[in-house]
């Protein structure tokens, strides 16, 4: 429907960047000075702040050295001018081709109503970073998800284990770019392993109790629903 030909030409051209489509960007939105936290970060941490950019029109992204992520995030959370008290998400991006994996911290300040995205790059042979669970409790499960799907080790995490994939999943970390879409094992092997999950390996009987009240849990025979094994 556009003047250059049929709509298929636009499809083959691919999506246009937001800068090109809107002409000149809104004044000041792309300027680092327009986000007070970015300028304050640069003033306080200096060389730790590696880069700043604006993505998707209005999302400010700050690239920070991975070794000092906890210091930067703690200051962003505690400083009264910025007070990013809500950690919206911890996630990761694998761009493939041997590029470093980026850990993404999405922050929101409830009082100041500001968003900030902090990114840290980790090389593929050094996928280890400090956990921010001491700063935000919600990072517990968020970092478990990043560990499960990308294989990033979070130092000082209280309970780093798989959260989405089964606990006996042995095919690797699925969201890496070198991970095949359908997994590494055959379907028969995946079926067999799925049905051989045994949560008794991971949980104590107290953790499995019904309703949290001790003594009320029905007795669970060893992995069998046929009932107690017959006496020899």
């Amino acid at each position: 429907m556009d003047e250059n030909g049929s709509a298929f030409d636009a499809v083959e051209r691919g999506p246009e960047g937001s800068e090109r489509s809107t002409g000149t960007p809104r004044s000041g939105i792309g300027d680092p000075a327009s986000h007070p936290s970015v300028t304050a970060l640069r003033a306080r941490f200096g060389a730790t702040v590696l880069h700043h950019e604006v993505q998707a029109g209005d999302q400010h992204v700050v690239f920070v050295d991975a070794a000092s992520n906890r210091a930067v995030l703690e200051w962003l959370r505690d400083d009264p001018e910025h007070r990013y008290d809500l950690l919206v998400d911890v996630t990761a991006v694998d761009y493939g081709g041997g590029n470093p994996i980026q850990i993404v911290y999405q922050l929101w300040s409830v009082g100041h109503k500001r968003a900030l995205r902090v990114k840290c790059e980790l090389p593929l042979d050094g996928l280890s970073i400090d956990s921010v669970v001491p700063l935000w409790k919600t990072a517990d499960w968020l970092e478990r998800e990043v560990f499960d799907l990308f294989g990033v080790d979070f130092r000082d995490h209280p309970d780093l284990r798989r959260i989405l994939m089964p606990q006996n999943y042995a095919e690797g970390h699925p969201l890496r770019k070198d991970f095949p879409l359908r997994g590494r094992f055959s379907r028969a092997e995946q079926t067999r392993r799925a049905l051989s999950q045994d949560y008794h390996d991971d949980y104590t009987p107290e953790a499995l109790e019904v309703g949290g009240a001790p003594g009320l849990a029905p007795p669970e025979p060893n992995g069998s629903i046929d009932g107690p094994e017959e006496a020899p």
Binding site: F8, P166, S186, L195, D226
Partner: protein, 239 residues
């Protein structure tokens, strides 16, 4: 004579149970008549009528198909006219398992356990494309068809199937029940106790489903890309 009634206390295998039934049939036991008589056909008729008109579904709804299952139970399509309004969330009291939605491998042992906990007679419906074959989710985490986990009686295709489709599948179950016979008890109803918790399809069957296109773990996002060309469109169509 019970299933465990043997020296050593080992449960009988399926073949032995079936031979048991055949033996009783030859002796003219209660349920095992060699040939149908007037009385057995009437008993079969009544029992099958009662069973098929009072099926209590066990709704194993995981995803979008569950919405359509709820819609079938709601007023516009109404499963109550089939006697199925009492959705039993306890498998112990359910007759037909409706697996509505995609099943990840992490959920597979739960599905198997629910199926094992259901009492005989029981039937199962695989509702939707994901439960029947994995649907659009041919990935590392999704079961490619629940018939690798539990035995399935009826497959209802669709994404999601319309409520009329699910009702048609339930009516197929009713038709299947209509043609059952109590003398088939041992062959039809007996389950191998040693298979509790194990996958329903053996490895060769599952591997037979893995072909060069789809369902193969040797493919990744790059090798499975197909080269597409711009489709030909006639000139008289609007741009």
């Amino acid at each position: 004579m019970g299933l465990r009634d043997r020296e050593g206390g080992d449960p009988l295998s399926l073949a032995e149970v079936q031979a048991l039934g055949q033996g009783e049939a030859r002796q003219g036991g209660l349920l095992g008549f060699g040939s149908p008589t007037f009385l057995t056909t009437k008993v079969d008729f009544v029992v099958n009528w009662a069973r098929r008109n009072s099926l209590w579904p066990m709704p194993f709804g995981t995803a979008c198909c569950a919405i359509e299952m709820m819609a079938s139970a709601a007023s516009n399509f109404d499963l109550a006219r089939f006697g199925m309004e009492r959705m039993s969330f306890s498998p112990r009291q359910a007759d037909v398992l409706i697996c509505a939605g995609r099943v990840p491998y992490k959920l597979a042992p739960v599905l198997r356990r629910i199926w094992d906990q259901m009492m005989q007679p029981k039937w199962s419906i695989s509702m939707g494309a994901c439960a029947s074959s994995g649907g659009v989710f041919d990935t590392y985490s999704m079961v490619q068809g629940i018939d690798t986990i539990i035995p399935v009686d009826v497959y209802v295709p669709g994404c999601p199937p319309r409520p009329e489709g699910l009702i048609y599948g339930l009516m197929m179950i009713q038709e299947k029940i209509r043609h059952e016979s109590l003398s088939d008890h041992y062959t039809l109803r007996a389950e191998d106790p040693s298979l509790v918790g194990r996958p329903h399809a053996d490895a060769e069957e599952v591997e037979a489903l893995a072909g060069p296109f789809g369902n193969s773990t040797q493919q990744d996002q790059l090798t499975s890309l197909a080269q597409t060309t711009r489709p030909e469109r006639s000139e008289d169509l609007l741009p």
